[in-house]
Structures are given as C-alpha cells and as structure tokens.
C-alpha cells in the first residue's frame, strides 16, 4: 500500500517537472500558462493522492485541499491569461486576433450605455 502511495507521489512530481520544463522553454505567456496549468491540477492532485495513501489519518483534509485546488487554481490561471491579454501581450506566430473582435463589441456596447446614461441624466 505504501508503495502505491509512493508511486502516486512520484507521478505527481513527474508532472510538476514536465510542467516546469515547459514554463522555462516555451516561447510566450499563453503556451507557458498551458504548461503550468498541468503543474497546478494534475501534478498537485496526484501528489496529494499519494500523500493521502501514505498517511491515512489526513485523508479527509487532503481531499478537501485537492477539491479546493481543483476549483481555484484553473480560475487563477484564466485570470492571469486575461491579465496578460489586457496588458497588451499578443500570441507569438499568429496574425489574426479573434478575441479583439469580442472586446471591441463589448467596449462599444459599454460606450453606448454610458452615452445613454449621460443623456438621461
């Protein structure tokens, strides 16, 4: 049983190592976020599974921590990606930007609403 836990722990560490290799080697922020997302979900959860098997008294707390990590870490990854986009970083090697169209629509709707509010006031 302890050997199974150890194997799960090392699978998690392997995913962390691959993700951090991608974090160092990949060319721009979006591909790097793709790599570090693996560290935060698969790597951490496999590591926590190994710890829960190795130490049965903490299983409930470790499961709670794994659920919390699965809920929150992808959200922070998306927040970082949106922050990078809004601070003006563009994806390397692509000439078309589909997301800018959506942003332009949202901004024009917001300006129309602001003008309506200003005329109503």
């Amino acid at each position: 049983m302890e050997i199974i836990g150890l194997v799960a722990l090392w699978i998690g560490i392997g995913f962390c190592a691959i993700g951090i290799l991608g974090l160092v080697r990949l060319p721009d922020i979006y591909t790097r976020l793709h790599a570090s997302g693996k560290v935060s979900t698969v790597g951490l959860c496999s590591l926590l599974l190994g710890a829960a098997i190795l130490m049965p008294s903490t299983t409930l707390k470790v499961i709670a921590l794994a659920l919390f990590a699965l809920l929150t870490l992808p959200v922070s990854t998306h927040a970082i990606a949106l922050a990078g986009y809004r601070s003006g970083i563009r994806m390397r090697g692509f000439s078309r930007d589909d997301m800018a169209i959506g942003f332009r629509v949202v901004e024009s709707i917001e300006t129309i609403e602001m003008k309506e509010e200003a005329s109503a006031a």
Partner: protein, 91 residues
C-alpha cells in the same frame, strides 16, 4: 515506514525544492508582469506540495491545515494582482 518508502519521500521533498530553481529563472527573465505573476502562482503550488510532503515526513496533521490556508491566500492574491495588472489600478 520501510527504508525504501522513507528514502522515496525524502527524495521527493528534495526534488520539489530543486524544481523551484527553474521557476526563479523564469521570474528573473520573464518579460512582462503577467509572466512573473504566473511564476509566483506556480511556486505557490509547489510550496503546497512541499508542505504536504513535510506533513507526511513529520507525521503531523497540522501541516495540511497550513497548506489549505496557503492555497486560499494564494487564490485571493493572484486574482487581486491579475486585476491590478489588467486595469493598471487596484480598485
């Protein structure tokens, strides 16, 4: 715990600590603020793993509570900093 399992857990702790060094390289090089925020997020994830492995080594349940608190604060801090970077203001 047998010798093999004990050695494996200690080696896991060592590897997790060594894995933070490439993150520090990216923190040094990273061209924009969003890169650095992402690296801080990754380092915090590694820290959660280190604390959980420490809990297994020490046989102490309390370390897992510390890991949960660290995860919560890291989430809030990352969201606040991401908003600060994207809008160039805090509130």
């Amino acid at each position: 715990m047998s010798d093999v399992v004990s050695f494996g857990i200690h080696a896991a702790l060592l590897v997790l600590i060594v894995l933070m060094l490439p993150c520090v390289y990216r923190l040094w090089v990273g061209p924009s603020a969003a890169d650095r925020l992402q690296v801080i997020d990754t380092i915090t994830t590694l820290l959660i793993g280190i604390i959980v492995v420490l809990a297994v080594i020490r046989g102490d349940v309390m370390f897992v509570d510390i890991a949960i608190a660290l995860a919560a604060f890291a989430f809030i801090g990352t969201l606040a900093l991401a908003r600060f970077i994207s809008e160039k203001r805090t509130f």
